[in-house]
Symmetry: C2
């Protein structure tokens, strides 16, 4: 068993094309013995966003605090604390902070084999085109 406080875990800036003002903490990972999936906590600063991107694995997301939107392709869903989001494999998605404080959410992912491709879309590109 591992019991810890998320505030004690160091965060890393998300360095990725299309990411602005995002940091991530890995709370539970395969290093802890977790055999199937990982728990991560993201914080997106006001006006920040994750990349508009897709990948062949799912996300299971729970919003902890703040105000934002999740883009499903080009469709915006508003999100607040207590909302949850399932993002299926290969769905184009992006999380954006639309509030004045940090947007914090958990994002669980299955363990991802190294080299798994992530497709990032430029901000100005229409989604759904290749």
């Amino acid at each position: 068993m591992k019991v810890n406080r998320s505030e004690k875990i160091g965060s890393q800036n998300v360095i990725m094309d299309g990411a602005t003002g995002c940091s991530v903490k890995w709370l539970i990972n395969d290093n802890d013995g977790a055999p199937n999936f990982a728990m991560r906590q993201f914080v997106v600063e006001p006006e920040g966003h994750t990349p508009k991107h897709s990948h062949p694995y799912e996300h299971e997301v729970y919003v902890l605090s703040g105000n934002g939107i999740v883009l499903e392709g080009d469709h915006e869903h508003p999100i607040v604390a207590g909302d949850f989001v399932y993002v299926g494999p290969d769905e184009i998605h992006q999380f954006r902070n639309t509030g004045t404080g940090p947007l914090a959410f958990l994002c669980m992912v299955p363990h991802i084999p190294e080299g798994t491709p992530v497709k990032t879309l430029p901000e100005c590109e229409q989604t759904g085109r290749d």
Copy 2:
């Protein structure tokens, strides 16, 4: 993609030997297309607890609100909002509310094949005995 508000999801009482004052909402499951694991939200009322039990699959837990303890065998770890817990396969564990308000937490589990055994220990039994 599925986006929803946890407060809109109906909860079910946890009917299980050793469970008192516990309810669960299934937020994301295989019915939503989730291929690997499920997201559940538990609420344990004051003086309530989950069973003292073990099973051959892991839990990944994030505490949303309230005050409680998680038992690792007979060892008590205090938990509050922002804490996270990894429970490995076959570890004896129990969540107890020790506060005056509800104890709420997310508990993610891999999809569990029907018939997977769960071993429940009576409250008065020493853990580690068969």
